[in-house]
């Protein structure tokens, strides 16, 4: 099925796409059909900069298990450094 559900957030950072590094302004997160991963549904994240056009995108398609592991790893990495560094 197409779930269509989508979370959209503003972000600040950089990503490396097909044409090299670029600034990131938006992330779109959704659980739906992947383009490439061999699963019926995956947790997909599009790191984007719409101001630089549709190709300014870094895409990942993760199984639900992988996505949860990634989310936990991000939180763990942030928690392991002095709070002053990540405030």
């Amino acid at each position: 099925m197409c779930t269509y559900n989508t979370e959209m957030i503003e972000i600040n950072g950089s990503g490396k796409g097909a044409s090299g590094w670029f600034s990131l302004t938006d992330a779109t997160v959704y659980f739906d059909h992947p383009v490439h991963a061999m699963a019926e549904h995956t947790l997909n994240i599009d790191f984007r900069n719409p101001g630089q056009g549709p190709s300014a995108r870094v895409a990942v398609e993760l199984t639900a298990e992988s996505a949860r592991a990634l989310a936990a790893a991000i939180e763990a990495a942030l928690a392991s450094v002095p709070a002053a560094l990540v405030s």
Partner: protein, 248 residues
């Protein structure tokens, strides 16, 4: 069936007079007159599997044309990048879809060997759009492959800016073939049953088939969702249906 065909990317006039990209395939079979099909791509975009579908129609004797519905947002972008942009923007506005399909139908009718008959087919979000086009334009046959949000509203929180359009059924201009999967949730068998009931009430000819052991996107040969039994029978249903309504 012909093995010789010509396929190419062209420009057509779509909604609002906009020039948009489209993929055209025409059989090189020497037929004096033939029917045509507008192909509406799925939500993942104007990609190579969708272009294979266009060529498949040509191989079976139809002129086929697929407008790139995401061309305005992402001209020249790869299909997956274009689809991501369209998704973030809330999808394709209904009015624009109708204009683009209408432009494609006009192009096909103007072909030298056209018999004047044009059908439409769409997959996934294109299934809903196929129904929408057939309720908004004079067409000769429509196929809806697992299109959701015709009867029920989209799920809570989804950014796609679409609303139910079942009330348009009263304006359906042609017979409708619906091909669905029993395991699909969007559209669910309950939703397609309600659509069938509405079409019965309006006296609109239609035939729906719901396949067991198949879910959404069972025609997608490159995806795990592919169900060859349902897809093979579905293709046969399509050839029978278009043979009845689009043949010379």
């Amino acid at each position: 069936m012909t093995e010789a065909l010509t396929a190419q990317t062209i420009r057509i006039t779509g909604f609002g007079g906009d020039e948009i990209e489209a993929y055209l395939a025409i059989p090189d079979d020497g037929a004096a007159a033939r029917g045509s099909v507008v192909v509406i791509h799925h939500m993942p975009g104007y990609d190579w599997p969708s272009k294979e579908i266009v060529r498949r129609f040509a191989a079976n004797g139809y002129a086929a044309l697929m407008p790139n519905l995401y061309f305005r947002e992402a001209p020249g972008a790869s299909p997956d990048d274009a689809a991501a942009t369209a998704r973030a923007n809330g999808g394709v506005p209904d009015g624009r879809l109708v204009g683009d399909v209408g432009g494609a139908a006009d192009y096909l009718r103007a072909l030298q060997n056209s018999n004047g008959k044009v059908g439409v087919i769409g997959y996934c979000s294109g299934g809903r759009q196929s129904f929408l086009a057939a309720c908004s334009l004079p067409l000769d046959a429509a196929v809806d492959c697992y299109g959701a949000c015709i009867v029920y509203p989209p799920p809570e929180g989804m950014p796609l800016k679409v609303s139910p359009i079942v009330d348009l059924a009263t304006d359906l201009s042609c017979p409708l073939l619906g091909l669905f999967g029993e395991d699909d949730k969007y559209p669910s068998p309950a939703e397609t049953a309600e659509l069938s009931k509405a079409l019965d009430e309006y006296g609109k000819p239609h035939e729906f088939h719901t396949y067991a052991d198949a879910g959404h996107a069972f025609f997608s040969v490159n995806r795990p969702a592919y169900r060859p039994e349902a897809a093979n029978d579905g293709w046969q249903k399509i050839w029978d249906f278009y043979g009845r309504y689009l043949a010379s």
